[in-house]
Symmetry: C4
Subunit: 203 residues, 4 copies
């Protein structure tokens, strides 16, 4: 099977998950407050929107980069991809929790759930990447053991930071956890996986 | 007509239906409960999310496989495809029912509705597959009577299991029905339709 | 500009509009009623779902057929297409009204609104079709004045039936109006626009 | 990387954002009012729907035109595109505010928020366009310094009108601001960016 339809389906899922984030933006009734008060006071929902939007957008870019290594897909890859997308699609859920609960109930449950979803997605990406690199020739790409080895620090680092953020949230500092998630998103805007054309391990 | 736009439209519908599932994930107010209590106590909605996500994802894969046999579409195929998609798009509805009602009202209505939708979708897939195989040459593919014959047990089996699950639900065991639906989803992760390239019936 | 991206955008809009219809399916709390009672008693929402799903699906097929006549798009066509899509995207709104109000408030407002949206969409399709046929050569197609002439009865007939249904609804027979809309959807499953390859007006 | 998947992802996001606008259309309970009263009285939500639909549709056309200048994308372009889409996806939020609040609370907060989102999106489009033109050769296009220079008045004008509308809203005339946004949308239906094929600066 060509990878074209798998890409189209994945693109659609990423595009919808990122767009559903807007459904959680709400402006509470004014109750005599000024506009400035409302916009400033409701910052957690805007912050959560920005962090999740950047995070899903970066995940889409990385998904793009990974699938650019191959031209065909097989059943195991489709199943791994489906499990990965199951995590991506879930992201609006903890984002909604953060937007709703950060000010009202402290947000521990929300930010821990956020971190757990991110950890699951990180494992999904690691699985997809490992499968693509180790089955590259079968999938119409080129074997790149070097690319896999060089990408280990980035994957492990991202995963460890999400684990750290989740622990920080679980021990009662949800705001600090949210900042950690945000910083990681900005960091990944610059950091990226080896792409097929720039990979020095490819002849 | 080329099958490209029909695939793009179907991919979009599958991608949206699978993503709308996240709209049913909700965390009830804490009310003094611990995070662990809430996450454990709300398992039906997470279980329903996973089962429906896997089910729609597998349906997308099978749709992919069926349309890979042909290169053109005609009006009857588009109508059959539309009826099939009408069932797929409805899946978030019984999923939402299961997520909401399994703990509160026992979930009989929810799991029966779930099963009825799955039975309808199974008939839709059977119709699409029969039409594609019996009109393959007209649609730019190759006649494969053997492929049709070999796929009968898989289709019939899946349909019978959904009928069994629906009856189990209707007779008052919604949890057992949900487990049956979940096991069927996992089973289909491995089982699949004959693909055009690996079909021994094709010269 | 090539018509590829305009098709992709339109496909996405059709796919999302058709999928959002599921958000209006709701099962009210049982309140001691049997499952059979609930499913039978709530038929308007299922009927509205089926009618709107078929209607949007058929519109997508017709859109597909119209754009298959050309290979390029220009600014006026994109604007006409946008106005058409503005009507298509609105369809879940009157569908939701029908689902909610047919039993409670009689449904006159709902079915009149439904008819008005369909009339607007009919004008949009007529505009798109006229523009495509009259500018076919500029858009990379072939001039087909005959195709335009032959399609006039179908367009006019559909429009008149929607006007009739809207008037029937406005004069207090919403159920009859809904049946008229449903019959028209089923009729259009078979009836279709001339396609580029089967058009006898094309040399 | 080819620009194909970036276009597909962007098309999906635009298509979903424009379709989510329908979720804000609501018909309040009749309470003995006539249909005419309800439809006339609720005009702000229909007006907001039309203005936002046209605005997002035009943005999609302009996005289409900008990316038609190039055939490849790089990481900075993907990040700029992501920031732009973050603004586009947010548009249903202030649209919903306008639909809900224009009659009840005067709508100052809603129309100011609307204007702020539009200003952010305008900056996003300016950034994407400047990057595309200044990096055209690297991205598989042709250097067009003339195209950039000629597009400055259009970009600056649109931005200034959105700033003016936002100020008008902030100083207590939300209806006037909404009319300004609507007029700008209609104006942009005709006005457009230089396209690759009609650009006199291209040899």
């Amino acid at each position: 099977m060509e990878s074209r339809r798998a890409e189209a389906f994945s693109d659609g899922v990423f595009a919808i998950a990122i767009t559903l984030l807007v459904l959680d933006l709400r402006l509470p009734p004014a109750h005599g407050h000024t506009l400035t008060y409302l916009l400033v006071n409701d910052w957690p929902q805007y912050f959560a929107y920005v962090v999740s939007f950047l995070t899903i957008g970066i995940m889409w870019m990385n998904h793009h980069t990974i699938l650019a290594h191959i031209t065909r897909v097989d059943r195991p890859l489709l199943v791994i991809n489906l499990l990965l997308l199951m995590g991506v699609v879930a992201i609006p859920f903890p984002t909604s929790l953060v937007a709703e609960e950060l000010r009202h109930t402290g947000g521990v449950a929300a930010t821990v759930t956020y971190g757990l979803v991110m950890i699951a997605v990180s494992f999904g990406f690691a699985g997809l990447w490992i499968y693509v690199v180790t089955h590259a020739e079968r999938l119409g790409g080129q074997a790149q053991p070097e690319a896999l080895r060089r990408s280990i620090p980035g994957f492990t680092g991202g995963l460890l930071v999400y684990v750290a953020g989740t622990l920080v949230a679980a021990f009662g500092a949800p705001l600090a956890a949210l900042v950690i998630y945000g910083v990681l998103a900005v960091y990944y805007l610059f950091e990226h996986l080896p792409s097929p054309s720039t990979d020095p391990g490819q002849p």
